[in-house]
Symmetry: C5
Subunit: 156 residues, 5 copies
């Protein structure tokens, strides 16, 4: 049984897991989803590692760091933890972090969260089942959360 | 025997362990509490790891970094250590840090400490015994120390 | 069979892998190239480690962090991950990062990317097959992306 | 035979080890002291780990980072190393760092060094032989180097 | 056969290895020197670890980070890597980094490089063969690169 792990937090103000579930259920119907909710982003790395150690092929971490300097530090610590969790398990953890100060208002925060979570769910699908889709997009300026910027255009 | 580890410091100016004990004794009466006091926050990661290695299912670290830049750096180093302690043990360590400059005065510092420590103790209870309580709260803007901010409200 | 791993991202706006392939196919025709594309730089360390664990002698990571503070933080986290991936495998990972704010415009970004990627590909060739070429260049102010600055000239 | 490790540096401008020896010889006469001197603080983590791996129950690191930004960074790197050394050995390393810009002048630097080193030596004694002394001091605002600040006083 | 590892970079603008070789050949004639050149400082930690894993008793890393913020970040990442390489091998790596903005001009950069590299080579000699020489210098304000500052003088 193929499995994918989803980790989210009670700190976030948008239910991002919903967007990921929609993509995964459509694109990877044969995958089992393991879902864990923790208090905040610093609790996500070990939660992801536990799922990966118990058979998940990949994990997606959904977090929403606040706008204060201490929140940036927390996000950094969580990201360091996620790096180590990946290296210890040899599996990918896609980090979907929405920094609250990225958004202009609540509607924008919601739209940003939906776009980034959905696109990273699609990245997970391609990485797990069709890596050539990733190769096609190499160096093409893809963005999650906002519109793609595209590859630079230069006369060679 | 289920066990939970509590680590606090002599540096902190509020006895936060008291608040945690109150919640745990009421909610997890069948759990044994292992309690260790160390000098400062940088001594907490290894203290937590030792308890987790000796059978605790989870640990709660109670720390109070000062307001100076060097204190922020110490808190960062402690948090990095806590990340690694979690990944090495595959168990959660809830980090309850009260930054002294979060509080307006001593009364506020006390209230903040009590609220954050109590709420995280309750998070520990749910994570250990009733994860569905965590799922219910996913993406709902929960805060420890202050009032919850709630989920964003958007017309979809 | 000797193998070298190449990892790039869909976030980058220049196809840097092309420049590396050109050098490697000319200089190391007997090496097999393992090529993986991931979403962003924070996904590269584990991708590199996986290739090294599966027999690659070295890896080259091609990334392009953006110009915002959060991008610098991501690059830092990726670099920390790459450090650990190297130490865990005892193999080199050449980190080819182009910071978007290094370049004056798109043409400059393209030229910078080509120069840095090509020169690091040549470093990989020398490190793998002819270390004396590296010794000859020790302390001589070599730069990838821009012109070499050369060794300091002092009257001794 | 119980053993404790002491590590200091040639970079520091105060002989802090002397203060630690005085406390340990009085309070832990039955402990053997292993003493190592290294160039600077970044050399202390591995020196401490080597002593802990060779049977010391605990280590005390005595360092004196300078006042420049680069010195702060070195202290940070040393502290990260010390965190890992503790987690790898499951033993405590008390980090006694005196930042040169904490002191008003040489006399103050000397007094600060003496107070912090002596108090941390006493913490080591209690942690090794009488943990209840630590519990008594939990949340009471203890400081090493300066006077204690005490617990906050609030009407409950 | 006792062995010591020397790692330098093509990025540096001064051949610092020469100064180290002079000291080592005079002071440790019975030691074999293993010498590796890598592109930049971030490539040095794994190079040092490889030498230590293959029998070197100690390593000396010679690097020259540039003056830009990104260079400081690279130096920090390299230093973190070196910390881990030491802890994973239980051996010392003396980090000889010359920050380009430490020097007033090319002559000063050369003199600084020579002084720091030579003094650290002597530290390596003492640490490997005569630790009492280190103990004598504990807390005496030694500096590499510039003149020693000496121990503080206080009326006790």
């Amino acid at each position: 049984m193929n499995k994918i792990g989803i980790i989210d937090t009670t700190f976030a103000t948008v239910d991002m897991a919903k967007f990921v579930f929609e993509v995964l259920k459509k694109e990877l119907p044969h995958y089992q989803i393991e879902y864990v909710t923790v208090p905040g982003i610093k609790d996500t790395p070990v939660a992801a590692k536990r799922l990966l150690d118990h058979g998940c092929n990949m994990a997606i971490v959904l977090g929403m760091p606040g706008a204060m300097p201490i929140d940036k530090q927390c996000a950094h610590e969580a990201s360091i933890g996620i790096q180590h969790a990946m290296l210890m398990t040899n599996k990918h953890i896609l980090e979907v972090f929405i920094h609250m100060d990225e958004a202009k208002n609540d509607s924008d925060l919601y739209a940003l969260s939906k776009d980034r979570a959905s696109k990273h769910a699609m990245n997970a699908v391609w990485m797990l089942t069709n890596p050539s889709k990733m190769h096609e997009r190499a160096g093409t300026g893809r963005r999650q959360g906002r519109a793609d910027v595209g590859a630079v255009k230069v006369k060679k």
